[in-house]
Amino acid sequence: MANLLQQIVKKSPWIYRINAGSCNGCDVEMATTALIPRYDVERLGCRYCGSPKHADIVLISGPVTAVVKEKVIRVFDEIPNPKVVVAVGICPISGGVFRDSYAIESPLDAYIPVDVNVPGCPPRPQAIIDGIAKALEIWKTRV
């Protein structure tokens, strides 16, 4: 029974994006992966949603700037369990090109439990889709 439920739930991940002070490069890549018809993630049941309270998979991009840190943690808390976090781009891992800046508080996983890292500056759309597919496998086990 639990196994069947996992198989069903796996087919309906709703995606939400959080911009943690990103330069918009990764955001553009995410929007093109999650939204445009060319790659069609809707065939996996994915839907992009506007409210954090509807989300299952959270895509976070950006190096977590000092100003935005508290807000990111708060929005993350508003997402109902079970949820999976995908960190998109090199910034949430190490800070990327902004690494030595005084305004940066990365890495992201010091504050939020990150499940999948998709490195790149910015990562290719295929890599992001692969990250979502890996996140699905993790999400399945949490239901």
Binding site: I8, K11, S12, R43, S51, D56, E78, P80
Partner: protein, 322 residues
């Protein structure tokens, strides 16, 4: 026996179970055809059912600023209103409906319940985005109710004149009139009213050119913002039922022909007609149009559908034969 039949009609067919499954099918078909119009594979036909099961597994969060009781009850209001509305609408050749003297007027009120439930839920959730969505929903409802009421009046007048009355608001009479004199869809004087009704459908369902209250890219889904888990699934289910009610109503008002004597064929014919209504008025419009602004939508509804309905009404009033 009557009570048993009533319970059967309320909970199994055509209300309750059948309506919910049919609503999910219409939602799935809408998403699939939408994807095919954009030349992609799209989600499977049963995707809305999966979404529903998934939402049951999610945590239900209630904001601290929300009015708890109203916030939890609001999704149920619209759902129940739509379940009752399904029972009122006859399926030609299969189900005769309740057949009271004014069920069309009752339907007009019931059609407003999902919008009302959305407004109540939004006002109870205590979020500024929901408040913006609430005011937009209210404005949009006021705008599309005018042409909708005028279309209903026109149909009632047309049928009432044939029976020697000023107006006939009984859906049973409307259907039997059309089965004797041919469907109103093929009547040229009624064509503007049909067009006006088709214009009203996207706003009642709340899809893209008129999804201004729930615009997810500008006000983060508006009234639905604070809903999660079961409450959200209830609202999604209400959306599906709304599709059933509005398409069944379109079939009953303008094209209630039955194919043969056997009920299964008639039911399949009814389902095909409903799918056609949804595809033409929702999916194609959604795939080809962008979201309007609130003032544009308001002007649109008080201008074009109202004018079209008025033309039909005047033609019917003076019994013009074209």
């Amino acid at each position: 026996m009557d009570a048993v039949k009533m319970v059967f009609n309320m909970f199994l067919f055509p209300g309750g179970l059948f309506a919910v499954l049919f609503g999910l099918l219409l939602m799935g078909a809408d998403r699939k055809i939408y994807a095919r119009l954009q030349r992609r594979v799209g989600p499977p036909l049963y995707q809305p059912l999966i979404d529903l099961v998934k939402l049951q597994q999610k945590e239900t969060l209630i904001p601290r600023t929300a009015q708890y009781t109203v916030f939890r009850i609001a999704p149920l209001l619209g759902f129940v209103g739509m379940l009752v509305a399904v029972v009122l609408i006859p399926i030609p050749g299969v189900y005769a409906g309740i057949n009271h003297t004014a069920d069309l007027l009752v339907l007009l009120y019931l059609l407003a319940t999902p919008a009302l439930a959305l407004m109540i839920g939004a006002s109870a959730s205590g979020s500024p985005y929901s408040a913006v969505g609430l005011s937009r929903e209210m404005t949009l409802t006021m705008a599309y109710e005018v042409p909708l009421l005028m279309v209903f009046l026109t149909v009632a007048m047309k049928v009432g004149m044939a029976y020697g009355k000023l107006g006939d608001f009984s859906l049973g009479d409307i259907i039997s009139f059309q089965q004797q004199n041919g469907p109103l869809l093929l009547d040229i004087t009624m064509l503007p009213a049909v067009l006006a009704f088709m214009c009203c459908i996207p706003a009642t369902i709340g899809v893209v050119p008129f999804d201004i209250p729930e615009a997810e890219t500008e006000i983060a889904e508006g009234p639905l913002l604070e809903y999660s888990g079961t409450g959200l699934s209830m609202f999604k289910l209400t959306g599906g039922l709304k599709m059933v009610v509005i398409s069944a109503l379109a079939v009953a008002l303008f094209f209630p022909t039955a194919l043969g004597g056997f009920w299964l064929i008639n039911l399949l014919w009814f389902i095909i007609k409903c799918l056609l209504v949804i595809t033409v008025t929702i999916t194609v419009v959604r795939a080809t149009r962008a979201r309007m602004r609130m003032d544009q939508a308001f002007k649109f509804y008080l201008l074009f559908p109202t004018a079209l309905a008025l033309i039909s009404m005047i033609l019917t009033m003076f019994s013009v034969k074209l």
